[in-house]
Symmetry: C2
Subunit: 220 residues, 2 copies
DNA sequence: CGTTGTGAAATGATTCACAGCT
DNA sequence: AGCTGTGAATCATTTCACAACG
């Protein structure tokens, strides 16, 4: 009985994209989808899709494919997003406000339950039905509201300090929009999004004359 | 004489992070850095760093390391960001406005020279010194201002149509913030950022009990 | 010395190909 | 027929280990 099959990193990235595609399909009439169809939608081989899913169980039906609704449910369970996750945003600047207004988080079972900022100009103001709280209340509110994920949207200089506070307050994961590497000495999981890095990598691909998506494996 | 050494995809991701770290170092006094130091800063091995850089040339000095200023210059040349790139943002909603205010693009030699939106409420308004233009002017302005990169910050339903217009107008690369896969039939390079996908992957890591950064190779 | 650049070895990920199920 | 799940083969990436250099 295998306890930990060890999941390849690229597989995890693709699972999110499978789920996104399936959710866009669920509204439609299509009740099942084959690994070939799902792969074609993301420019992947059918074998790749099957292998990725097989790491987590046997979800398909030979001769039929995967039942869309069922697979969506399975993927949500894999991601842990079958249950609601409370999250907090730190930094009510432009990025923080864009994230607060981002309605897709709710559809994915993430709820933003608190926003923090130390700027006296925004502290106390209400954004998207949430009152911006001062940083000194962070630990208390994170614990009270059982916030599991922290979203860092502060300038680079402040990011490490905020990360430390979040870890101390007991969050389990950090989504980091600040352009710095966070040192979390293995206390939590971190995922980072850096807009400049994203543009820079696009520029690199253009300079190389490579065409297509960066997530895919096309080097023709 | 090798013409195209074929660059591993993961290498490209790391190069951006090397550059970011070096730039944060340049202000400081440190004139050189060894592959060991640079690796330690990003939790990578020294061999990894050397191999990544060696794909592009011989930048180091045995017994000394890499001269920081020199390496920054080399990396910028590799990314093509030693020259200025004109970019346009399509969509003046929350994400578009956050990107317009993002001052790091300028430091990386990217200049946002146009913003487009079809909403009558924002069309014509001025954001960060740029007047929001209607979509019908897109092709003309992209060509006039020699815009090479398009940044899509519109809702998912509109993204493919915008991508088609950008390609028609002659952009070379697209940075996509809409939560859909763009079909660009190999006309341009695409890089996508999906906030929900980013959070979902963080949730997955947390559920698995994995700790540390998603960019790194720690599965302890 | 300390550190780079690089073949060779080891590890990791993808594709192939096919038995077996519906 | 059509399609999944999976071991085996291939391909890609990382790490090792060391000669060569300042």
């Amino acid at each position: 009985m295998p306890i930990k099959p060890k999941i390849p990193r690229p597989t995890v990235k693709r699972l999110s994209l499978y789920l996104r595609h399936l959710e866009s399909l669920a509204a439609l009439d299509q009740p099942t989808i084959s690994s070939k169809q799902l792969g074609a939608a993301l420019s992947l081989t059918d074998a790749q899709v099957r292998k990725d899913l097989a790491y987590f169980g046997q979800f398909g039906h030979p001769g039929v494919g995967y039942r869309v609704d069922d697979l969506i449910g399975q993927l949500r369970k894999i991601f842990g997003t079958d249950k609601m996750w409370n999250a907090a945003i730190i930094g009510a600047g432009n990025i923080g406000r864009a994230l607060l207004a981002y309605d897709r988080f709710g559809q994915k079972n993430f709820e933003i339950v608190a926003v923090f900022d130390n700027d006296p100009n925004v502290m106390g103001t209400v954004i998207e039905n949430l009152k911006v709280k001062p940083m000194k209340d962070l630990a208390k509110l994170i614990r009270e509201r059982e916030v599991k994920l922290g979203i860092i949207a502060v300038p680079g200089e402040a990011a490490q300090d905020v990360a430390d506070q979040l870890i101390n307050a007991g969050v389990l994961g950090i989504l980091n929009f600040a352009p710095v590497r966070l040192d979390v000495h293995d206390a939590v999981s971190v995922n980072s999004v850096d807009f400049s890095v994203a543009l820079e990598q696009l520029a690199f691909q253009v300079s190389l004359g490579v065409v297509g998506s960066l997530d895919e494996d096309r080097t023709p």
